[in-house]
Symmetry: C3
Subunit: 359 residues, 3 copies
């Protein structure tokens, strides 16, 4: 549709939007090259349809939502949650062609969309996020639009040596570079981890230690455990413990830890919606701390934007030029193999349904 | 030239510009995918030429007009109204290749251009606009550039049910939706009309009633009579009368009425120059009222821009996807049939002349 | 790479940047459709490499320079001046594929780059600029990016009749138009010259006369001698002398003269980096005068931008349409012949090397 390059897996769940993005109004968004309108239906439930009014092809997302009905902003067609027209002033609508409706589920603080074969959509496949419903945890995050292939962002997150260079003033430090990482694959789960012991905490973690009433000037053990799962979710366990208390396994009062949350949703083949955030299990009720962490993380993660967009531009200029696959790249390399396998299986099995015919 | 999609009819008159746009300086404008320069020649008459200097291909529109001569702004070539070079410092210009000259006529407050075969240009085919030269009438209007196929704008103007949704706060009201329209075709003339009796006047018309010294809080009869004529002119009789006095046929002191004027000129296949305005026969000498109406109309008609541009973008994303042709769409559907017939006749008859050979 | 149109000569020297552009940081620049990073190596010498990190394809120009080493801003790869990786934290880099390195020389106040076959790069072919190292001369200049084919800029500079129209308020005057020029070719050197005697000096030259303590209200003899040499250098001797003292050959205290310096570097086939400036041999120590002249020249040369970009746009709209080749165009016509000959010889001889293979 938008272009002809290889598509990401479609029979899987992607984060489509934050719940607040569809409160009170429809949202137009392209996901996996498909133009969608997202909104809340009669019961407040999230709904996703093709962003096409069957009357004259205006985007439904320009309309408004009235009591869960999506009203086209051009001539007032009322669209139902199943993609069938409900009513239109002065018209019999029964024979109106339907538009495609997508499986969509609101869970864990995100709206999840299944862009592929609706018959295969299974809510059980939405990833478990234990912290999302646990009052001992707090979450804050944001959304960035980045003009790069979604796989470049997976690479970025599975090789954190970039922190030393891209995030030198916040979370980067030479020890990341100097400490080898290890990567293992468990089914469709790729884990890349690095443990740095007896080091100085970088600025972001010193702030976290202080907010946790821990000294910020003593040696710490730091860890990064990156978890990739398909299609493009990267969850990273990160933390520091006062040195000598067991590191990753230190007792709660000797460490600060959290989950870095990264849900990457392809928009086109060269752009993404990047949902980033952090879940923490200390001082979860402290909203000011949540805001402070989100602001800091947003600034740090914003540093990746230019690198990724320029990297993408370079790749388009030199298509097919070989990239190195070093030990530090193993996480991304394994993730791409899983993606390739999933896409091949999809293509071999059932072709994803085309847009609903508008006869 | 600019693209390869089907062209609009060429052997016909389009509005090229407002007269004031060529006062004192040349104007570069693309019309029907053709790059033109418009200016005033020696007698002040409007002239249109290819926007190409035969010397080195600079746009003539970057130059200046001196005593009706168009002087290229790069090296001073003097171009004549017929597309033949008049003079150039230090040069014999007789063998200079001509550029194409277009039939152009200033009439009724507009500059009209015939982009097709000049030999077939007939001034008698310029539409009659009785109000344009009648001192009992006043006219005010403006120009918008919109990134949409010109036919989407014809559709828009021939189906005014969109007013209820796009212009809800000014001229829209539910009764437009609820009152069926009728469409008839008389040769190349398509008429879609709707009569709404005993309704409340919407805000724009209440303002008009007040400016006409009529009460704005009584039931009115409202009418909309849309006239399409080729290639893309839509003139709409609109008005309200105090209810029970004959509606459209009510005496002048019981109604407020006017012509909505819409001349749509294709720029490229996906963009237009949209000349909009309103002609009224009440208080024609009241310039403040003219300005007030123009300002209000400009704001209202600006509400169509985003809808049309997004609709166009959707159509480009889903090429060939079928649109519904409801009863309310009949005006646009008939207009497109007339356009298709005219284009087919043009293509079958004489191929429009190519750019003048530049040997 | 960026497109498929005919390339300019590659086995030749172009100005890549001003020396100050690479002080302290790398510079990303496209030259002749090739993406480069320029920076200063360990000894401060200018270096040019492909703007591609062999690790993951990020642009090296996003990185930083540390003690003459170019450090990739993504994962810290250290690149050497020869395009071979020097080091990378935790990696053996010996087998890393090299990126292409370009011959580059800093001389005469410019950084010169040879985009073609490095084996044929010969520093002796860099043009001599006697004034550049002579304390009796001062130079000031700037850089413009213009969206036009580099040959349109050569045409512009070899036919100064455009000054009468494009620069009417500064250096233009009718006498340029009225006085024939002569063009001769000496090998690969094209000279177009014009001598205007007993005329009034235009505003720019009146300023120059005053700054030279000469009267600005007396008749002058004015000259323009344009020198084209490949690939796209245009140096113009310009000046005025009080009338009757020998014009171009007048003694130094009766004239004001300078070199207009134009180095044109193709970026893509439709855009250039335009290094312009002026070298003068009067009051060379007067930095305020240098600044004043540069400001005036920058303003005047900026007037060419829109003309050239619109001319280019017109050429793209009417590809292949013939241009006239008048006597005033002879300089540009001969320059293009030389370019065509050089390109044909290059293509016939050795194909320029492709990007270094990144196995």
């Amino acid at each position: 549709m938008l272009n002809e390059m290889p598509m990401p897996p479609l029979n899987t769940w992607y984060v489509a939007c934050a719940p607040s993005e569809i409160d009170g109004q429809p949202l137009g968004r392209v996901i996996c090259n498909q133009r969608l309108v997202l909104y809340r239906g009669p019961g407040g439930q999230a709904v996703a349809l093709e962003d096409w009014c069957p009357h004259r092809g205006a985007p439904l997302s320009l309309g408004r939502v009235e009591e869960g009905k999506l009203i086209c902003g051009y001539h007032g067609l009322e669209m139902g949650c199943d993609g069938r027209t409900v009513a239109m002033p002065g018209q019999r609508v029964r024979a109106f062609p339907p538009v495609r409706s997508y499986p969509v589920v609101e869970r864990h603080g995100f709206v999840w969309l299944w862009p592929g074969d609706a018959a295969r959509a299974d809510e059980a496949l939405i990833p478990e996020l234990a912290w999302a419903s646990d009052p001992a945890w707090a979450y804050g995050g944001g959304l960035y639009h980045i003009a790069c292939d979604y796989r470049l962002m997976i690479d970025n997150l599975m090789d954190l040596t970039h922190e030393t260079y891209v995030h030198a003033t916040s979370i980067g430090q030479p020890e990341i570079d100097e400490t080898p990482c290890t990567t293992r694959v468990e089914g469709d789960h790729v884990i890349t981890e690095r443990f740095m012991n007896g080091i100085h905490a970088p600025p972001f973690w010193r702030m976290a230690l202080r907010s946790h009433q821990l000294p910020d000037d003593q040696p710490v053990d730091r860890w990064q455990v990156c978890h990739y799962t398909p299609p493009s979710h990267v969850l990273i366990e990160v933390g520091v413990a006062l040195a000598g208390h067991g590191g990753y396994h230190a007792p709660a009062d000797k460490k600060v830890s959290s989950w870095v949350v990264d849900f990457i949703t392809p928009e086109t083949d060269t752009s993404i919606w990047y949902f980033w955030g952090m879940a923490r299990n200390f001082r979860p009720e402290d909203k000011a701390l949540t805001a402070q962490i989100r602001e800091g993380q947003g600034r740090i993660f914003g540093e990746d934007l230019e690198v990724l967009e320029q990297q993408q531009r370079n790749h388009l200029q030199w298509p097919g030029r070989t990239l190195l696959k070093l030990n530090i790249d193993a996480g991304g390399v394994h993730a791409r193999r899983i993606i390739d396998r999933l896409v091949a299986a999809e293509r071999g099995a059932v072709t994803p349904p085309a847009a609903a015919p508008a006869s």
